[in-house]
Subunit: 434 residues, 4 copies
């Protein structure tokens, strides 16, 4: 198995976190899957991903003080492997884990993903519970010096036979459940420890090895960032996507900083290897965090985000509750001209960037070019782009169509000049393209 074949193009789907925080239920997953199957699948969206704490029996309790309750009870099987909380995921009560949910999602023509924390449950290690296979116990796999700075569930896994046995057993279980996608947390960056104490670096390798052994093509997504550019080779060899930033929310400053990260990582976007801009915080979000609300991004900002993410070829994971999608957001998520940037063979590249503006191009396998001009300032501005900066055979007189508004534009004397609203974008394809 070549892991780069598991995700030839950037994975697209939905993730429960932005709306549900730690509280998503079986019903929540399935109702979002239904919307996706009907409305979004034709555009390429296919993953339904259940985010953090699906095994935490008290998830969401005392939320004001704790996102993750210290010393909370985690649902676990006899081999130190976490299992879905049967209260929130009733179909798992018979011990079948996520099997039935995965089956229903597969039946809709979609794929199913879960979030995991790097490591092995702390409680299992302290109680020296057995690992699958009968050869080792959890304390032998666990590294008591390796913890997550913000989550109390797990210990990091040692780079030894017991550790690999644990990860192998985990992936074997997930494969049996029908999992297609794993988002592993606390692993893409060393957020707390000195680097020499961080076991995440070898846990990335161990997870990859376990996936290869399990025989099922499971996409591996690493979280959170900022991923370290000096570890690019490690990510590329072992994973399919890795987060370039910390948690991304609907905040304009965070979006501006994303331009810097996209510049840094643009040479690392390859088949099966996708630096990840994080979820799309659009539509209705925040319910599990105590405040159900509409995205704070203005329409211009949302277009800027979608254009950057697509031109760069980031994975696209929708954060919005899909049952509450409004038409405006739907249009953004399903803009075919934009989504075509994600196709196999396309490649994105920054043309210029400074504190006030940026320009990108995205070229498809046939050489068709899309261009985007971003206004990063707080006031409307006239931006320009030189034809010579495109380094491509775009004819001088090419007719350009704006991706969102379908207005037309042309280079004049080798320069394209457009008025771009504050925080907004003007993106173009050539008429022949779509």
């Amino acid at each position: 198995m070549d892991k780069n074949n598991f995700a030839k193009t950037p994975p697209m789907g939905w993730n429960s976190y932005d709306y549900y925080d730690t509280t998503a239920t079986e019903e929540d997953l399935l109702k979002n899957a239904c919307v996706m199957a009907e409305q979004l699948k034709p555009y390429g969206y296919e993953y339904i991903v259940c985010d953090i704490s699906w095994y935490a029996e008290g998830a969401g309790r005392d939320r004001e003080h704790y996102q993750y309750l210290p010393f909370d009870t985690l649902s676990m099987d006899a081999f130190s492997r976490l299992t879905p909380d049967p209260v929130r995921f009733p179909s798992s009560a018979d011990g079948s884990g996520f099997t039935k949910i995965a089956e229903k999602i597969h039946a809709l023509g979609l794929k199913f993903g879960i979030h995991i924390m790097r490591g092995i449950p702390r409680k299992a290690a302290h109680d020296r519970l057995p690992l699958y296979g009968g050869k080792y116990t959890a304390d032998l796999a666990a590294d008591p010096g390796s913890i997550c700075p913000w989550n109390p569930y797990m210990y990091g896994v040692r780079d030894n036979a017991a550790g690999q046995c644990y990860y192998d057993s985990l992936l074997s279980l997930y494969a049996a459940w029908g999992v297609d996608f794993i988002k592993c947390d606390d692993i893409a960056v060393n957020g707390l420890y000195r680097n020499e104490y961080f076991s995440g670096w070898h846990e990335i390798r161990m997870l990859h090895e376990a996936i290869e052994k399990c025989g099922r093509p499971i996409v591996l997504s690493l979280s959170p960032g900022p991923a370290e550019i000096g570890k690019a080779f490690l990510y590329e060899k072992n994973a399919n996507m890795w987060r370039m930033t910390g948690d991304f929310w609907d905040d304009w400053d965070a979006l501006k900083r994303m331009f810097e990260r996209c510049e840094l990582w643009q040479d690392h976007v390859k088949e099966g290897c996708f630096p990840d801009c994080d979820m799309l915080p659009l539509g209705m979000v925040g319910k599990g965090f105590g405040e159900e609300r509409r995205t704070r991004f203005s329409l211009n900002e949302a277009k800027t985000m979608m254009t950057l993410f697509c031109f760069f070829r980031s994975p696209l994971m929708i954060g919005a509750e899909l049952t509450k999608l409004d038409a405006e957001t739907m249009l953004l998520l399903t803009n075919r001209a934009l989504l075509s940037c994600l196709q196999d063979g396309s490649s994105g590249r920054e043309i210029y960037r400074d504190a006030s503006a940026a320009a990108w191009k995205n070229t498809d396998a046939s050489g068709n070019v899309r261009i985007a001009l971003f206004n990063l300032e707080d006031e409307e501005k006239t931006l320009s782009l030189k034809l010579s900066d495109l380094e491509e055979a775009l004819p001088e007189n090419a007719l350009l169509t704006e991706i969102f508004e379908h207005t037309e534009a042309q280079f004049k004397d080798g320069v394209l000049t457009v008025v771009v609203p504050a925080h907004g974008v003007r993106a173009y394809f050539t008429t022949a393209q779509v």
Copy 2:
């Protein structure tokens, strides 16, 4: 109670670590106490301190791989408080803890100290064991995000009522046992976490409060360093001593670096407040580490160490196995002229220092001055000191006696010039002084 009265002068004694590592037994403590009572007590040595892991039932096992066994069994009472391993400390088998050992040590006219790790046993927190008083359980006091980077036993304690209750119960128990001295580990410096995650800062305060409540004058020693100079006020308000460096061993480069630390902290040596140079790695050491050996310090280096530590007024904790003390080491440890620098009212001060040499003075309450010239280079050197740099009424013609060799010297034309051996020292008192 004013904690500064607990230690008006730098504490002097013996600590089990340098020789026994984690393996000291009841018998070991008592035989060292006997030697101290007979030979060292007249010079001011009085503390017998049992260092780390006295509660670890497997201490010393698999030493090649682990100094502290992960997920090892720790002896504990019903209230989440660690108790002595009854195998190594048989007198504790009846549940009396260190009471009987402390009694025997007190009967010798000595004082008794123990080492503790900052925090509460992890296992107690995961099992939600009760705390003394019946009001709280260990999980409420424990912070699962606060661990020690190199030791797997404990979680840091939260700054809340459950946490204070735990520390109060701990000190109450220690007071009942007859403990006179606590060396708390993993607390004087944030070795692993970002500062904002390090609970040690408030645990220092909580320990001090618990000592005040327990009603027994227990000296509080903080370890390991390098203590942060920016936290000097915190240490001074709450503790009696705090380590200025990481673990200090018989290594010349480490001793050279100690000069820098002594310069930095010299203004913070006060009654009840003693920046700490760490144990004296002299005589026979290293047995518990797998290699019983004589100190690697040459005699000149050992004199340099003793002179710096005494002039600076560091606590003096002997690391040597006392039953194996040789005459040369004994002479160093009991040099009255040198030890008089530790007396109440004395104060030490650097006169100059660069990479190749240093000079210190120590002035007693009566204004008598001792001076020391240190050669930090690898070859014999002639060092000098200007009388005017002493800022004291030392008469031009004062007769100086060398502290170790009893040779005499004098200032000539306001300058003292002496040949000092490589890595060595020449230290002087005025004849009238001792």
Copy 3:
């Protein structure tokens, strides 16, 4: 000469910078001196200090773009020594430098100080101008790799004979002029370079040596901070005052941060050695910066500043234009109870501090105690202080008088409880004290 005798108590005076920036003239200095002699001298203020750029012929030109004009013409004598700009300091036109100004200031019973930049004029080095004595040229003393990050005038001085010759000649000239105080800039902290390139560390020593040789007791003030605590010994051996922070202005956040710095440096306040809180930005300031304005400090904030600076025993250099002093500011600057904290033998010490409040005490040579409670929050608050925290023989029933408002207060059951306004202070002396 013992430099600690030059300033047995914290120097007090006036500095031209806060009001005039780089533009002070002979007339400005003298008119401020007149006010000081009449109104402030009785309270201990005595230094008139001319701050930066007195040699810069274009000082103040193109101020919008540059505070210090690049490649500007500096007035210089034949030996690479900067001399006053004869346009702004007409009495220097005859080549007598600051002699006549110093004479007039001395005649008023005051002392005279000047600002210098660390180093030797760059132009002198590039033109290989001679140094005084005929033995060396400026290029031999200058280190072309040592510059100031924000000022283009000087190169750092090498630690060689040519360099010492230059500094000796400089101090010899200043002594001849009648200078009593030097504020040397770009020297107390390495603001730009890696430490190993920073020649300031040896220039501090060289300046001290030059002062000793010049035979005149010239106070040495080092600027700007934040001075490094690890260099405390260097400062104390060679200088009389050193800045604990970057430039301090009338900004509440900066004042709050000063509490942290005062805690850090409190053990280093000694006769002749004064960590420095920087100028008092009170009254009218800012004219040379393009905006003549009243201090932004509210009266409560100004009291907080004066109380902290006096309790800590910082030097007190007024930043206000003295000819425009209002009565309220005058009262603050001349509060005798407060200023008595600066007396010889007094010592200040923090009692507690956290993000919302702080308490200090200052004890004089006779053991009289003043106490201050600071409210660092944005709303009025009740603060308290335990008698036991004073560690002093203040009788339980001592009658306390507030330093600014002369209201009375007493400890009750060992606790003093007072309402303190937002950003304000309540400070007390015992009635017998003043």
Copy 4:
């Protein structure tokens, strides 16, 4: 002009630094050019680059104390532009600069390059000398806060019209001289200043603009490193090569670290864009540094270096004195199988790397694969490579020929296993390839 066309493949040539330090002369350049034309040109070597200090009249004087004499006299034209020292470069005495040397080198079928320091001569700025065009003077272009940490010649250039005018005039002069290659120093990394003070970032842009304006295809090489990966886009847009490390010499540890840098930068090797491993310190080097000597690299180490540099596709600049080339070094430099890795369309990629071993592949435009296994340890080792790791259509039974020794090898059961000497390499091409 598209700067990526100036260097479609990694530039190859010779640089005077490793042998001559600052002292190369006209004669030295020409005699090395003769050797290159005869012996090395057939293999692709074509640049003769004169390194630092060709304008310094005293270059090499007092070498024991200074590599670059402070305040030395630099040969300069009337417009603040440095010109060759006429003593060492006699043909420039008529004011024609490097014109005649360039002509001779061109006549040999070679290209000519020079080293420059970022910036404008300090002396010119202090003397306010004119810039070409009569509109500006040097002080307006110079930033007195921007210096090189280790070289005293220049000030950084401001991002203004005067600054661009200076760089334009410089490139215009160089184009007139016939310069084909510029190695600009103190520009690829901020070695001294805080980033916000470093003018090099905009000077990279300004130099590129000046090259575009000058009309001559001049290759731009940036030095020294370690270049910042976060600035990759800046380098790629404006330069042709940039150093990945500090100065590289014949030191095994430095060579081992180069593997890490090659991994980091491998995705940035593109047509016209070459991360640079620095000169090849082979053959005879060091004369100008005071010690003429043979390279310290063993033959195995030299092969490791050549193989890594070629597989990665670094520029290849010989450091050896060419007139003293021995046969062994000559063979290394002219290995056709190895040099073919540099061809247009080839691309290199790390396969694995840890502290003890590394493997690389290099694939040419036709899909032919070369592979290399490096032993980074101090003892002979057996290394292996899985066919599946090559991701290429190399047939299972492909016959491999070792690049240096012409021995043959084959994969067995999908694994290639070879014994590799300490510090050495085994590199293979398939028989059909060369």
